[in-house]
């Protein structure tokens, strides 16, 4: 496991077309040992069920390897989608990337 924290910032739409490339990118990082990930949704203007599934798949994989995927910078509308679907209980969600990164340190891992 690498000691660093990887920050990923998907752009635009995480729909059925946009989700697979993100899932592949996240998997690539986790397979390389970067299991502590922060996905900032600052530049993500839309997320569909496929986008949520991609994040969930990466979260499961990261946790299996002793890491975690954390989220930050959700717009009110994205936050509502996470809440409505119950996905807010699957991820730790922070207001900004700095807080998300810091939270890994506080947990000692």
């Amino acid at each position: 496991m690498n000691s660093g924290i990887t920050i990923i910032a998907p752009q635009g739409r995480l729909d059925a077309a946009g989700a697979p490339p993100l899932e592949a990118e996240l998997k690539q990082h986790i397979d390389a040992g970067d299991v502590r990930l922060v996905v900032t949704l600052e530049h993500t203007r839309y997320i569909s069920s496929n986008g949520l599934r991609a994040l969930l798949a990466a979260q499961r994989l990261a946790q299996t390897r002793g890491g975690a995927l954390k989220l930050c910078c959700l717009s009110p509308r994205l936050a509502e989608i996470f809440e409505m679907s119950g996905f807010n209980s699957v991820f730790e969600i922070f207001e900004n990337a700095e807080q998300a990164v810091k939270s890994f340190g506080e947990l000692g891992g």
Binding site: D15, Y46, Q63, G86
Partner: protein
């Protein structure tokens, strides 16, 4: 009488962005507010992704016809395809409160469609294929 907006695209996921822009234009013209426009965009996005994935099984040579119109105080979207017959009863609703390890996330697209719209109806005939009609009440 409001205008009829129609769009026909091939069954490719790459068209989802274009479909979303089209819905935004039609929904704004009918007087939906920002939040309602977003709801309809999401419902249609999920529906069209389902058409590509389930009706056409990822094939890109199918067609998706989308028609939007204002009927009284309702904004109505009709999505038609000629792929495999869709049976909504086969889709189990997702368990949105289950823990991560137990979560079965099939049916999440359908869950959002029903959440975002006031009415969702599926219809099939050999003549017109799958026809999905979704309605959103226009609230000022």
């Amino acid at each position: 009488m409001a205008d009829l907006f129609s769009l026909t695209v091939s069954s490719r996921l790459e068209h989802l962005g274009e479909i979303s822009d089209f819905i935004e234009q039609a929904a704004r013209a009918s007087g939906l507010n920002d939040s309602q426009v977003y709801d309809v965009q999401m419902a249609v996005d999920e529906a069209c992704a389902n058409v590509v994935e389930h009706a056409y099984h990822g094939r890109s040579d199918g067609t998706i016809d989308i028609v939007c119109e204002t009927r009284g105080k309702n904004f109505v979207v009709t999505i038609q395809d000629f792929g495999e017959r869709f049976n909504p009863k086969k889709i189990a609703p997702p368990k949105t409160r289950d823990p991560l390890s137990k979560r079965n996330i099939g049916g999440l697209g359908m869950f959002f469609m029903r959440k975002m719209m006031d009415r969702v109806e599926f219809d099939f005939s050999s003549k017109h294929g799958n026809r999905l009609t979704m309605l959103k009440k226009i609230k000022k």
